[in-house]
């Protein structure tokens, strides 16, 4: 049950963070979405053994975390929760790739490089996705999706799903509490009870949808999604996008970490 509460907390936290008004928050949502997509695309374009060249990409999330005043620990916790999955797949690499690589006196399997590379890519990609929501919020992201010509019905449906997740998870939590009080010490719902448990939840959801539709109709819903004020993309938004894209491309072309290392160790050309 704790993971249900965690999920509720997480959604609420990101929602709250998105309401801040820092320099990052007021950048146009579409610009932030596009910058994030460029970031992820450039990040995953590195070949599978690349490790050091990935590190300069840490600057972008650190920049956002700092300027948008986002607390680091809850975001990192969220990222860590995802890691076991990626470690599961990544850890097999050293087994399948026995090519050895020499670092000074240390010889390691090349698969470890692949593993590290996947691990870093995953951590960074997940962090920037969560930061995107934490600095933008779902409503404004939906607006950005509409500007990208994503079908109206999909965006509307996305917003409704998002709106009701909160309510339905709370309902699931209440039902789970009621169930566990009647079945103490049980790890999960008994499979025989599953049909009626989730089925009841589903029927309640159906009825809720019916009521929601009625109230929406009474308030003049005609199937249209009104986003409110659509803010224009301003010059500084362009500059933000261009500056970051330039940085990502430079970091893709030049291995900044190795350049810094060369400066310090005197190795190089």
């Amino acid at each position: 049950m704790s993971n249900i509460v965690d999920s509720l907390y997480n959604i609420r936290l990101l929602d709250d963070l998105a309401r801040k008004k820092t320099f990052i928050h007021i950048i146009h949502p579409l610009i932030k979405l596009l910058t994030t997509i460029v970031y992820v695309a450039v990040l995953v374009s590195f070949e599978r053994h690349e490790v050091s060249a990935l590190l300069p990409f840490v600057f972008y999330p650190v920049f956002i975390l700092s300027f948008a005043e986002i607390p680091v620990v809850p975001i990192l916790k969220r990222v860590l929760l995802i890691e076991p999955l990626i470690i599961g797949i990544g850890i097999l690499n050293p087994l399948f790739d026995n090519y050895s690589v020499v670092f000074g006196d240390i010889v390691v399997s090349r698969g470890w490089l692949t593993f590290l590379s996947i691990f870093i890519k995953c951590s960074l990609a997940v962090t920037v996705s969560i930061l995107l929501v934490a600095t933008t919020g779902m409503d404004k992201l939906a607006l950005a999706l509409r500007m990208l010509k994503i079908p109206r019905i999909l965006v509307l449906q996305l917003l409704l799903t998002y709106r009701y997740i909160w309510l339905l998870i709370e309902e699931a939590l209440r039902m789970m509490q009621a169930y566990s009080l009647r079945a103490p010490g049980r790890k999960g719902v008994k499979i025989n009870d599953l049909g009626s448990f989730l089925g009841q939840m589903l029927l309640r959801a159906f009825d809720r949808a019916q009521r929601i539709y009625q109230t929406m109709s009474l308030r003049g819903f005609t199937g249209e999604y009104n986003a409110g004020d659509i803010s224009k993309i301003r010059f500084r938004d362009f500059v933000y996008f261009a500056a970051w894209s330039l940085f990502f491309i430079i970091a893709r072309i030049y291995n900044i970490a190795v350049l810094i290392g060369a400066l310090l160790t005197g190795v190089g050309r």
Binding site: S7, N10, L14, T36, I37, V40, A41, V44, S45, R48, V51, S52, P56, F63, L65, S66, E69, R78, I89, G90, N93, F96, V102, F103, G104, G111, A125, V126, T127, I130, L132, I150, R152, I153, L156, Q157, L160, R163, Y164, I165, I169, M176, K187, V189, G195, L198, G199, L202, A209, G223, A257, L259, I260, A262, L263, L264, T265, V267, G268, R269
Partner: protein, 351 residues
């Protein structure tokens, strides 16, 4: 079985995003034409329901472990393929954004793996065929079970193929396949059990929901040939386009770098490197560190190293990479620290 950003290449991610966008646009058009707007809140609430239902763990008899619902098949059965697909797409986007499950670039892969196979393959070709003769607990059970299993097997296979095409891991195709398919067979059985239990309950309690939503005329059948043809065309066009970019180099980005800079690896000693080498003679705090000879050897190597030449990568660059990487992280942390300090100071000044 969410596909992660870290495991895919831009070409595979881009192709799958395009394919998914195509199916989503088609589904949105179908839903808009066929459905009255009262279904919009239903789709929204059903999406939230699946989200909440995924939180409910149930015990799997005889194993001591627990599982949860995936929901792809359930959405197809309760909402029909088009609305089901769109609902799955929005669930996956929220998961990607809020929970980091999957990712933005892998989003297309995930919607395709978890939404397309269930809604447009398993549902029309298996579930509907099996349940057509008469809706009863038996046919619902068999239909849900077989379609969930097939849907997940196809999805898992798709994950393996996408990973393989992306080339970001060392996992050999065969081994990865042997790992993924049996796991997802088990997951498919659990998914089938859960789906069957819920659908049977709904059929007993409120049969009109199933009749109206899934078998009713309002949502229509799936012209599977049309969907598949469109999909194949889209994949061929996009995939062809991207693989053209990718043909000379692992990915289009490298290709474009090559175009821009004249070489793919950019280890040439002019431009920024030259400037750096001038600066570094003054900045290097370990000037006598003995890697220079290695470095000189490596410079004679061709700029583009192939796979076989890989291990001969020089120790000098490796050490530079490690030192520089550590420095990069320290710099990044320092930047964050400075920004925080200055922000706090400014905050105090205002107060």
């Amino acid at each position: 079985m969410h596909m992660a950003d870290a495991l895919i290449s831009p070409a595979v991610g881009g192709t799958m995003l395009a394919a998914t966008a195509g199916i989503a646009a088609y589904s949105a058009k179908k839903v808009q034409n066929d459905m009255d707007e009262s279904k919009i809140p239903l789709m929204g609430v059903m999406g939230a329901f699946v989200f909440a239902a995924q939180m409910i763990n149930f015990s799997i008899p005889g194993t001591g472990s627990s599982g949860h619902l995936g929901g792809g098949m359930l959405l197809a059965i309760l909402l029909g393929p088009y609305a089901g697909f769109l609902t799955m797409a929005s669930i996956l986007l929220i998961q990607a954004l809020f929970f980091g499950d999957g990712g933005l670039l892998a989003y297309g892969c995930n919607v395709f793996n978890l939404g397309f196979y269930t809604c447009f393959v398993a549902y029309p070709l298996i579930y509907k065929k099996l349940v057509r003769k008469g809706v009863n607990p038996r046919s619902i059970f068999v239909g849900s079970m077989v379609s969930s299993m097939v849907g997940l097997q196809l999805g898992a296979f798709s994950v393996v193929v996408q990973t393989l095409l992306s080339g970001k891991t060392e996992l050999p195709f065969g081994q990865f396949l042997l790992l993924m398919q049996p796991i997802h067979l088990a997951i498919g059985v659990i998914e089938g059990l859960a789906t069957a239990a819920i659908v049977t309950f709904i059929w007993r309690a409120r049969p009109e929901i199933l009749e109206r939503v899934a078998f009713g005329k309002s949502l229509g059948g799936v012209p599977i040939k049309k969907v598949l043809t469109g999909l194949v065309v889209a994949v061929v066009i996009v995939g062809g386009l991207l693989s053209w970019f990718a043909s000379t180099n692992p990915d289009g980005l490298e290709w474009s770098i090559e175009r821009v800079a004249g070489t793919a690896e950019l280890e040439t000693p002019d431009g920024i490197h030259k400037i750096f080498s001038e600066i570094q003679s003054k900045t290097a705090f370990l000037p006598d560190y003995g890697f220079k000879t290695d470095q000189d050897d490596v410079q004679n190597l061709p700029a583009v190293e192939d796979e076989e030449a890989w291990p001969s990568v020089d120790a000098g660059t490796s050490v530079s990479g490690i030192v520089g990487g550590a420095m990069t992280l320290v710099l990044a942390a320092f930047m964050g620290w400075i920004i925080n300090i200055s922000k706090k100071k400014r905050g105090k000044a205002v107060v």
